[in-house]
Symmetry: C2
Subunit: 287 residues, 2 copies
């Protein structure tokens, strides 16, 4: 069995491109259609009802293009709506939370994992649940960091602005550091975590800044690699892989926002050879 | 590392004893404390709020007895409250839904799985979600069978009453059969499932009757064996196994209901050598 149709990849904006990049690397013979709902990003500060409605409209557009599977490469959408989305479509739908949670539970040696994500993702406790499902003995410290998606969408991936925002965002989880770089006591509960899970697909773009802030000895885990592996397994187990000799893979990028602006941002984040982007109209008013 | 403390096992009634039996078989050196909330069973027809409140009171009683881990051997309680229960206690807490779902997803060859469970469990879509997490390409048909727990609690495990109740309960999922035993068309969507997941710990006690009804070629999966394996892995991975040479395992049975009635029912279901049962008072009015 094989299946030449493309894989749909959905995110609220450009962050899911970190997942797409790993998918293309891991399964290079698969064609993809990426849809970013940039017109209504970020999702992380919206209500659950809005997140679910916008996600459904976006997945409708991918399903209409005859994809064979969909990766919801948006943590907020996965956290709030993966169950409802799976009941809505006959397609196999993969989220980013379970693969990332499994990787984090396995990475931790002291069984203390910190999770940073958007407010909607944290509110859902989806990472908490998924890590506990992997190993109920792992302690999980969840912390919402709403400033980081706007930071990335504005293109601040390094430099003083990014460093200050990351330090301020992580302080409640890790504690403040003194001039020598030691944590100031009393430490918050999360200060002794040995693994930090980046629970938003935008955050890997800040990995260098985050790594500098948390210091050596902290494992930093994101969902992109783990999700690409889970997708490869899904295709293999269910006979959905592209046929050998089926021609080169094709990649289409869609955005509900401005195509030029998406391309400019994607090029800044992912390199100058980023391919063309098409605007798509979901047939609904922007929220 | 090792840990001699007992494992707590909780169910709304006697059904969780099917899980306890597998735990004792799989990890015979572990001591256990079983708590059945028989005074307020069955949970499956109660509101989510009641299920969560009663489960918390029951787990409080186990936590007070210094258990090292808790198995929520009740599908309804797991479906409704595993996340909230895990946030309430510092103990590793294992549910029965994920292990059973994984086993069912792996057992199905045609990737069509039927799930029967109590109304509260079905309403939560917890099995749907857990099977999709295991393999998003599996189609899941959920069906509530509220008549089966009262049937088991009344001791009807075989004979005409059990057969009629099981046939009536399964018909909406599988379809009616004609005199030759063939399904009558049009079949309901679940009629082509090749795997039936028993999503309630009482149902394995009806396995023979269910097997006769669904016919050969249908894999029947329950959570008991898979949960006992998951518990063994949890203890091993986290260094919580009982020490070698730590003395014989001890097993304590508690019920919020009448100890004599629990013992009589358990003996009928599990054999005449069923050990003594103690009544326990959770310090709350029965619901």
């Amino acid at each position: 069995m094989s299946d030449q149709r493309p894989i749909g990849v959905f995110d609220s904006g450009v962050g899911g491109l970190t997942v797409l990049r790993e998918i293309v690397r891991r399964t290079p013979s698969e064609s993809t259609i990426y849809l970013g709902d940039n017109a209504r990003a970020p999702y992380g500060v919206r209500s659950d009802e809005e997140v679910l409605a916008f996600s459904s409209q976006s997945l409708d557009a991918l399903a209409d293009r005859d994809v064979k599977a969909i990766v919801v490469a948006c943590n907020t959408s996965t956290a709030v709506g993966i169950g409802a989305l799976r009941r809505r479509y006959d397609l196999p739908i993969l989220g980013v939370i379970r693969p990332g949670a499994s990787a984090a539970a396995l990475a931790s040696r002291n069984r203390r994992v910190g999770v940073i994500a958007t407010p909607a993702t944290i509110r859902s406790h989806a990472y908490f649940s998924a890590i506990k499902d992997e190993n109920p003995a792992v302690e999980v410290y969840e912390h919402a960091t709403p400033a980081l998606v706007p930071l990335v969408e504005a293109g601040h991936l390094a430099g003083p602005i990014a460093e200050a925002a990351v330090a301020e965002s992580l302080a409640p989880l890790l504690g403040e550091r003194d001039a020598e770089g030691e944590f100031i006591f009393p430490k918050p509960p999360g200060a002794s975590i040995d693994t930090l899970l980046l629970g938003c697909t935008h955050y890997p773009l800040l990995r260098a800044v985050i790594a500098a802030q948390v210091g050596e000895g902290m494992a930093i885990v994101d969902s992109a690699t783990a999700t690409a592996s889970a997708l490869a397994e899904l295709l293999n187990v269910n006979g959905l892989e592209s046929p050998a000799g089926g021609g080169p893979a094709a990649h289409l990028q869609l955005t509900t926002g401005d195509a030029g602006r998406f391309h400019e941002l994607a090029s800044r984040l992912f390199g100058a050879d980023f391919p063309e982007v098409e605007a798509v109209d979901l047939g609904v008013a922007a929220g």
